[in-house]
């Protein structure tokens, strides 16, 4: 109950912060991209996310980046990602990649022991690289397209398929979720979030330069990246862009 009340208070503060700042600008023609029929909703949520981020998450992450030395941050990041190995292993199995799943299990074992609770990625140094799998990708391998792009409140870019995948990973295979000690669990979830947000900071500085329309840039990057991950980094070419220059050529569908 304590937790519920505290969460409620945090969310109320977030809502207040977002409301204080007004509305997102919706460009004409929003929603006409077949990959993003929910664009109007998505832009509002993105805008909300950005405001909360600017007010709360980003300053927190910057503080963390400024106070904690780089090596320690790397250790913490590795440790949290070590906890993600079960997600990798289970999804590699579900995608019929037993060798990769085995690697994930061995990685979890070696990194948790010799690698000091995941702090050092000794397995990668020994030639067993970390995989990057989740249930959204598994659904993709099983033949589900991403469905409409879908921005989640606070969590950011996703798709209908990946949201379902995320829920599954979160509830079924995320080890932190299995902790009985609620306070410890919540602290870890919070710390993991700060670690995650801090890891985005360098990239964000570049995004600020590269993106003309930040929303579109992030969306298109997300959709491309997820498609690439479903094919483990080597997806078939969608279309020949030169086709756009043939007379009467209709555009091919964009998504998988």
């Amino acid at each position: 109950m304590m937790l519920v009340r505290r969460c409620g208070r945090v969310l109320a503060a977030l809502a207040l912060a977002a409301a204080a700042a007004g509305c997102a600008t919706i460009p004409p023609g929003a929603g006409s991209n077949p990959a993003d029929p929910l664009e109007v909703y998505n832009r509002h949520v993105s805008d909300f996310n950005d405001r909360v981020d600017r007010a709360l998450f980003k300053p927190l992450a910057e503080f963390y980046e400024a106070v904690v030395p780089e090596l320690a941050r790397e250790c913490i990041n590795n440790a949290f990602r070590n906890l993600g190995e079960p997600v990798n292993a289970i999804n590699n199995l579900l995608q019929a990649k037993p060798a990769e799943a085995m690697t994930d299990v061995l990685r979890l074992f070696w990194n948790s022991t010799v690698g000091l609770a995941g702090c050092i990625d000794v397995a990668a140094k020994a030639g067993a690289p970390r995989s990057n799998e989740d249930f959204g990708q598994t659904l993709g391998v099983w033949g589900f397209g991403p469905g409409p792009y879908f921005v989640l409140p606070l969590l950011g870019p996703s798709s209908v398929r990946d949201t379902a995948g995320r829920l599954f990973d979160f509830l079924r295979t995320d080890p932190i979720w299995y902790l009985d000690n609620i306070r410890l669990r919540n602290s870890l979830v919070g710390a993991r979030f700060v670690d995650f947000r801090a890891s985005l900071l360098p990239a964000e500085r570049v995004l600020d330069v590269a993106a003309i329309d930040r929303y579109q840039f992030v969306r298109d990057a997300y959709l491309q990246l997820r498609r690439s991950l479903v094919y483990d980094g080597n997806p078939p070419r969608l279309r020949d862009p030169e086709e756009d220059f043939e007379e009467n050529g209709a555009p091919l569908p964009r998504s998988k």
Partner: protein, 219 residues
Amino acid sequence: MTTRNLVLSIALTALLGLAALAPLPAAHAQGAASAAVAAPDALVRALSDDVLEAIRKDPSLQSGDIARLNALVDDKVLPYVNFEKMTRLAVGRSWREATPEQRQALTREFRALLVRTYAGAVSAAKDYQVRLLPFRAGPNDTDVTVRTQAVPSRGEPIQLDYRLEKTDAGWKIYDVNVMGIWLVENYRNTFAAEVSRGGIDGLIRTLVERNRALESKAS
């Protein structure tokens, strides 16, 4: 973790081909002529190594000196990259309606934006080594993808792929993929939206303003 990778790749898209935009040292200028007829993977290999070496050697490049980057791109990298094709593919179908002057302006401004983006990321590049993945191409191929990995001194390798087209002047890079994100593809929707709002001139204006704003922020 997904989002982490996403933003990381956006940043790295900015690295935009350690090879595509970055400088070749003078020592390799002589290699340029032979590289023009070299196999595409050899070209990428040479270009990547040269670029990284140049960055490591030159502190002013590491600090993102735009004038210096631009001079070096003009001088050394241009022979290997087809910026016009890059721009044409990103602009998509409206390219057909663009006048030669508009095409020139689009290419110039898009390139300026890419160089500026690259400048922000170049300081990180010095810690990377480039490794080529196995490459296979038939003798008659005219459009190939060369796959590489940028391997940092610590941490995980980063996918870095190049699309090259065979021209009369040898192989030319026209697109770069960083961690699963193709650069050209990622600008297509934004460019199309700008064109539908304000025509080709509208897109040019947006790019010009964007570059100008970034310039004034940097100085």
